[in-house]
């Protein structure tokens, strides 16, 4: 055990690289007994990666960890659990059709083996009941099927599981990692969850990641702030206010050249409206209305889960999408049924967030991916693809977008992220579009390819293509957009023009987002 006043967990000089790209670097982090700490930061700042290193899901590339005074080097999550670290996952990691006690001891059943290979379920239930009672969760019956409990109770079951397993592996004081536990629940459930965490803190330490900054202020004793993969601030309770957390989180320098701001087109009332969304509602999107004019880049920002992605889905008809209200493209209303097809027919292109499953088809060639939305343009005889035309089309776009590939016949899976994204763009350009809906178009794209994609967007708008840009990257949102809408909890809460000479700051936009 560690001496009083010493941290029970230490991380020193931790760094993580994925395929040569450094995601986090030089992270020193301590957790003390009975403490609730938070790790704040923008998307991509490295907070999830840090959490996953503590949980054994990622091995640190460099650096060391210590737990209860001993070296700690888990290689998988079960190692971490055995040593007393548990994680409460955002998408719950409980099997809904198993009973509560079965979930508690899932994959540890062999410790309950009885003669003849049978499992001593009686002892499992007994242990589960005792722990639930101790944690003040007596209302949960370990024999009931997990899926029959409400989301909030299932969250409690996950936290309880951490205590049950810690005790089982004879760890006195477990560390529980909470990865965005409040992302999918309402205010009432959040209050219940926080009450429980406060109650449990005399028996465990907690690490919290959340998108709602106010929650750090309410719950945490100490807060680490990360930016671009590094720790930039450490704040103690009473020291942190939401505004100070923001300041530490953002404040990167924006390079105007990078976003080609000088070529941003001026948009006036004279430019025709290409996309008109009126009173869009459904799911948790509420009453969203806006117009998008020819050649304009309209940026849609907000935290993850604010509803901005649902708005994009409604425009392109990618189910499920909010069904209320209307979406008009060039004056024509898109129908509810078959909206996907109608949207494509109205010359709308969609570059989705998940490039590898939604954007392109990795096992098909560059040529086949390029022609996928424009097959009619490469047919010779009706219904028969002309190999020559398809190759020519692919060559044209490889050249135009500077796609780095060995040729049209190379499979897309062998291209880098940035070049894959260029192929997704090429697919729509080959078809010819008036409106492009881009959902995080530079996610997982290297810096050089990012700049090329930005330049391409400027060229397209110069030709009169309109762009609806949804992005989690604030600098990109500010740098590229003519106008920015910020969404929060399904509603548009702010509209801010962003002409090149008067771009808003990150701090200004974050103020609307949280």
């Amino acid at each position: 055990m560690t001496a009083a006043g010493e941290p029970i967990f230490r991380m020193r000089g931790a760094a993580k690289r994925f395929a040569g790209v450094t995601v986090i670097e030089g992270v020193d982090l301590d957790i003390y007994q009975n403490e609730i700490i938070g790790i704040a930061g923008e998307n991509g700042a490295g907070k999830s990666t840090t959490l996953k290193m503590i949980a054994g899901i990622h091995d640190p590339s460099v650096g060391s960890m210590e737990l209860f005074g001993k070296p700690y080097a888990p290689h998988r999550y079960t190692d971490a659990v055995r040593d007393g670290v548990s994680m409460v996952f955002q998408e719950q990691a409980l099997v809904p059709n198993l009973r509560v006690y079965e979930n508690f001891f899932l994959s540890h059943e062999n410790k309950f083996a009885r003669a003849g290979g049978l499992v001593d379920t009686g002892r499992m239930i007994e242990l589960s009941e005792r722990h639930l009672r101790d944690l003040g969760l007596g209302h949960i019956d370990p024999r009931r099927v997990t899926g029959s409990y409400e989301f909030h109770d299932r969250q409690m079951i996950e936290i309880a599981k951490a205590f049950v397993l810690a005790d089982f592996f004879e760890v006195e004081h477990p560390i529980v990692l909470l990865d965005e536990p409040t992302a999918a629940i309402g205010d009432k459930e959040v209050a219940l969850l926080f009450d429980s965490i406060r109650r449990f803190r005399d028996r465990a330490s907690f690490v919290l990641i959340t998108h709602r900054l106010a929650e750090y202020v309410t719950l945490c004793d100490r807060l680490y702030v990360m930016k671009d993969g590094r720790l930039v601030a450490e704040m103690a309770k009473g020291d942190f206010a939401i505004s100070r957390i923001h300041e530490a989180m953002v404040g990167r320098a924006r390079d105007e050249e990078y976003y080609k701001e000088s070529t941003q087109r001026a948009i006036g009332d004279g430019d025709p409206v290409v996309l008109s969304v009126e009173r869009l509602s459904g799911g948790h999107v509420e009453d969203v209305s806006f117009d998008l004019r020819q050649g304009e880049v309209l940026g849609l920002g907000g935290l993850v889960g604010c509803g901005k992605e649902e708005v994009a889905r409604a425009v392109v008809g990618f189910e499920p999408f909010p069904a209320g209200g209307s979406v008009r493209v060039k004056g024509k209303a898109l129908p509810l049924r078959g909206r996907g097809k109608a949207s494509i027919a109205a010359d709308v292109g969609f570059v989705p967030k998940e490039r590898k499953t939604e954007g392109m088809i990795p096992y098909l060639s560059v040529a086949a991916n390029t022609s996928l939305a424009a097959l009619k343009k490469v047919t010779g005889l009706p219904g028969i693809i002309s190999g020559g035309r398809e190759t020519r089309l692919a060559r044209d776009y490889i050249k135009l977008l500077r796609v780095r590939t060995t040729g049209p016949r190379q499979l897309c899976q062998y291209l880098s992220g940035g070049n894959q994204q260029k192929v997704v763009m090429a697919k729509w350009l080959a078809r010819g579009v008036d409106l492009l809906v881009l959902d995080n178009p530079t996610r997982g794209v290297d810096v050089g390819a990012k700049e090329e994609i930005y330049a391409l967007m400027r060229e397209l708008t110069a030709k009169g293509v309109s762009i609806l840009l949804i992005t989690d990257d604030l600098l990109e949102l500010i740098g590229l957009s003519n106008r920015i809408l910020i969404m929060r909890d399904g509603k548009v809460v702010a509209e801010r023009p962003a002409p090149p000479e008067a771009k808003p700051t990150e701090q200004e936009l974050v103020g609307f987002m949280v």
Binding site: G340, Y363, L372, G383
Partner: protein, 323 residues
Amino acid sequence: MSAFASFYERNRSLMGVLVPFAFLILLVVVFTLLNDRFLSWVNVFNLMRQSSILLLVATGTTFVILMGAIDLSIGSIVTLVAIATALLLRDAGLSAAEVVAVGAAIGAACGLINGILIVYARVPSFVATLSTMIVFGGISTWVAGGANVTFRNAEMTWLASGRMIWQIPNSGLWALAIFAIAAFVGARSVFGRSLYAIGAGSVAARISGIDVWRTQMIAFVVSGVLCGLAGLLLVARTSTGTARMGDDLLLEAIAAVVMGGTALSGGAGGVHRTILGVLVISVLKNGLNVAGVHPYVQICVTGLIVIIAVTLTLDRSRLAFVK
């Protein structure tokens, strides 16, 4: 990893053709050594006649497998069309031309039912076609009254066993002609491309404007029609409709598709490659016969060799789990 294994991994697509081809050569050499009549013209034409039915069924089912779906009802569609044809010829007095049209139509209808279950009722193809396999099989036994249906029709016999060109059996000609068209459609048409796109990435295909539902529907109908034509040739050859006569074709066709190099997960391979798998299976069955192996032992050996061949040729690089 051994040198061979790493070479194999680096040249997957080449190996996908070479391994079954080498296997085929090996079989031919072994059977020729066992009986020198194996490579005689008589036996080669006999082999063509025997493999024509499997070629049609396997070709049809390749369309479905390319989408990452499966059609388990193929064998029972063959049986249903064979028995219906025999009944129509014996009892209703239809001409050969009429039964060919009706047979193809029954096959199309069966495929349409599969398609509707998958596209509109949203039942996974494995479950949907497993059920229709039982239903179609039940219907054929029922309409035949459980008995064999024998007929006499010279035109039908000509259709399967006649020789239009030189000594080549007609059934082989039909099957090769249809296979050639199907291979072209699979490799070069918009429909064929849609199959690959759906098999390799159905969400991306849908977002790109590929009509996923229509493509699925057509693929199952094509599979049904080709099974119908296979059923016609089968019954024309024997002049007798028998319950369960098409059952063996299910495993043989899927095995032929996989040996040819089409991934069960969809999106890779091709209709044109299926003929290689068909040849391996047909040569095996024919060779065992020529070599004088006891018929019951033949069944066991065929099953064993199919599983060995599939084990060697199945492309597992695309399977996250083997299940």
